[in-house]
């Protein structure tokens, strides 16, 4: 069989190059990580009719359906059009009516923890927010990883993303409704940052320490603590794995509104366009920031954005992490560790 396949085009179309030259693998997006159960029928159908009967769950909450012959791509692209239209309702009619599958794969699926549809800790509907972000950033070929998590427990691992969105609740306190039981104070000290203290039988909150987790609201027996109904977010940026310098994302913005979050997401792309190393097949945005420095990144991301009054933006940034390529010659071996066999 002659196989003349445009690799670059195929990969952008969410099909993978695999070890087996005859076979590809389809990557299905699940924005916000939440599906209608009926969509699983589609995954099953593609896997059983065209693939090898298995489905892999990706770390970004998508599906990969392996073992599909390259020549079946067009047929399957046609088959998944309704699903793509359902999960990407913002996509242009041109994209949908072409029935040519996913229009891009660079900007990855926006993953989300289960959020406040289920979880008591979550400070917002993470899937809904993920869909809003998807609308803003997809389709795009630039390689960007974004995840959304309901609270600072960060179950989705927003700290491993290029941009992680973490929900914040602004707790408001009604002094007269407080019985001074100290449940919030003790809980905050043990589980969070110790932002609360007792003064004259009532509670004082140190806004510099409060991370907006909402725990005080959860434990208050009289609801003296309630959430400001406005939703706020912390953004952590430029976390990564990879072969150079794995590191956790660091806080970039605190107490910003959804509108600011989406504006910042939108601004990321012209910044990448401006500074990406065009000699590479692809470049992760984190390495671009390493090159331009934080201040340039920050200027581009905040361009044209009106910050809400509560918003705080990090003036400088120091990422943690480590560099690979360290010298292990002086490391212990089985002969230098006492008791080692």
């Amino acid at each position: 069989m002659i196989r003349d396949i445009n690799r670059k085009k195929t990969v952008k179309n969410a099909w993978r190059i695999t070890k087996n030259r005859a076979l590809t693998c389809l990557r299905i997006r699940v924005p916000g990580g939440h599906l209608e159960a009926r969509h699983l029928e589609l995954m099953k159908k593609v896997a059983e009719i065209y693939g090898n009967g298995t489905v892999h769950l990706t770390t970004r909450q998508g599906f990969e359906i392996p073992g599909i012959p390259f020549e079946k791509m067009a047929e399957i692209n046609n088959l998944i059009t309704d699903y793509i239209a359902f999960t990407g309702q913002h996509l242009s009619t041109e994209v949908i009516s072409s029935r040519e599958g996913y229009p891009a794969a660079g900007t990855r699926n926006i993953s989300a923890c289960i959020g406040n549809r289920v979880c008591p800790f979550a400070n917002f509907d993470t899937t809904k927010m993920a869909l809003e972000i998807e609308k803003t950033v997809y389709p795009n070929d630039f390689h960007v990883k974004i995840a959304v998590t309901g609270c600072p427990n960060d179950c989705i691992k927003a700290h491993m993303q290029d941009i992680g969105v973490i929900g914040q609740a602004l707790p408001e306190y009604e002094t007269q409704s407080c019985i001074g039981c100290e449940a919030c104070v003790k809980n905050c000290r043990k589980k969070v940052t110790g932002a609360l203290s007792m003064v004259d039988f009532k509670v004082e909150r140190d806004p510099r320490r409060c991370i907006g987790c909402g725990e005080c609201v959860l434990v208050c027996p009289t609801q003296a603590w309630t959430r400001n109904p406005q939703k706020f977010f912390r953004l952590v940026v430029m976390g990564r794995t990879g072969k150079k310098n794995p590191r956790l994302a660091a806080p970039f913005a605190e107490w910003v509104t959804a509108k600011v979050v989406l504006g910042i997401m939108e601004n990321l792309y012209p910044y990448i366009q401006q500074y990406i190393d065009k000699s590479l097949v692809k470049e992760h945005v984190g390495y671009i920031v390493d090159r331009t420095g934080y201040q340039v990144f920050r200027d581009w991301l905040l361009r044209g954005i009106t910050l809400n009054p509560e918003a705080r933006i990090a003036p400088t940034m120091q990422w943690s992490g480590y560099m690979y390529g360290y010298d292990t010659d002086a490391w212990d071996t089985k002969s230098t560790i006492p008791g080692s066999l």
């Binding site: 406040n116 979550a122 007269q176 019985i179 004259d200 909402g214 009289t222 609801q223 309630t226």
Partner: protein
């Protein structure tokens, strides 16, 4: 007198009654414990649409009569100042169980000693009660078992219908307020006859030691986390602590306040005494204390059970402890220990 008040007629009454405040269950959007949930609590009613008919409040109307934090006295050097006395009439919309609950509080604060509690009395005297009919009880209610499903101690009763309310007026004050509004009508108030929660209340004549020391309470020591939500949400829990606060964080400060604040038998520190002694360290003993106060001790003194079966404690316990089921467990024990029923 029975009338139909259209929504706008009702709203007109609210806005033209001077010197009267209307209070009832209202919805605070987005203020619930979990994000994107609402807090239902007692608050001011400014229009018909403010009244929440389809949800139970988290805290009962107790917080209006017995404020969570209530200033008793301010000391300013050489003088003692009492908080100003207010005189607005307070029209309170509430359900049958909660009207019974106010009677339970009345017994504690007005009739439990040589003189009524002046702070409580001053507020209580301003209230006029409007029964909200609840023909269909909520999921966790057990008012029928507690005998609080019906009630007669109210000035007026209302039923919510699509375009307004039907009102059954029982006293002169409401008659004079409503005279000239609405149209005459006929309807019969309904009361729930059955609850989803099936509760059997034991009639304990004298406390038996085996009930007091039974191992059933040990389970609650393991489950209860002493958060106190059952106490705060209870419409009949009436315990408070008194705090004296000196202002200025200065040992020479002569400005101070005495306030009383809700307390509860499930909360840590409730039984702490001078010298460091404390009773009921184990949560199981707190549960036992509360249970027998609600369905035994209070009845011994006042002739009715303290618990009114509103089910709020079952709604709010983060550990899913059911007080209703605890009553049933005690009932089973009482029945087991009897060779013949004592009724």
């Amino acid at each position: 007198m029975k009338k139909l008040l259209q929504k706008d007629e009702f709203d007109a009454l609210l806005s033209t009654s001077s010197g009267v405040q209307f209070l009832g269950p209202v919805r605070l959007k987005g203020r619930g414990r979990f994000s994107d949930t609402d807090l239902i609590k007692y608050g001011q009613i400014k229009s018909f649409t403010d009244i929440v008919w389809d949800s139970k409040t988290y805290l009962s109307a107790k917080e209006l009569i017995l404020p969570i934090t209530e200033t008793l006295l301010d000391f300013t050097g050489t003088t003692v100042v009492q908080p100003p006395v207010e005189d607005a009439i307070l029209v309170l919309f509430l359900r049958a169980c909660d009207i019974h609950a106010i009677e339970r509080l009345d017994a504690i604060f007005l009739n439990n000693g040589p003189s009524p509690d002046p702070y409580y009395k001053q507020k209580r005297d301003r209230f006029k009660l409007v029964l909200m009919e609840c023909a269909v009880p909520f999921d966790s209610c057990f008012c029928v078992a507690m005998g609080t499903n019906t009630v007669s101690n109210f000035g007026a009763a209302v039923r919510c219908i699509e375009d307004g309310i039907l009102i059954d007026i029982r006293d002169e004050w409401f008659t004079s307020q409503i005279a000239g509004s609405g149209t005459d009508t006929e309807f019969e108030l309904q009361f729930p006859q059955q609850n989803g929660a099936d509760v059997h209340v034991p009639h304990i004549k004298e406390m038996q030691e085996q009930l007091f020391t039974h191992e059933m309470w040990d389970e609650y020591s393991k489950r209860c986390i002493a958060c106190g939500r059952c106490n705060t949400s209870c419409p009949t829990c009436s315990c408070f602590s008194v705090h004296d606060i000196s202002y200025g964080h200065d040992s020479n400060s002569k400005i101070a306040r005495r306030q009383r604040v809700w307390d509860g038998c499930h909360l840590d520190g409730f039984t702490d005494m001078a010298g460091g002694a404390a009773f009921r360290i184990e949560c199981g003993s707190r549960m036992r204390f509360k249970t027998f106060h609600k369905i035994y001790d209070y009845r011994k003194r006042y002739g009715v059970n303290m618990c009114v079966g509103c089910g709020r404690c079952d709604d709010v316990c983060p550990e899913y402890i059911s007080f209703a089921n605890c009553i049933n467990k005690v009932n089973d024990l009482v029945n087991e220990s009897r060779s013949t029923p004592d009724e």
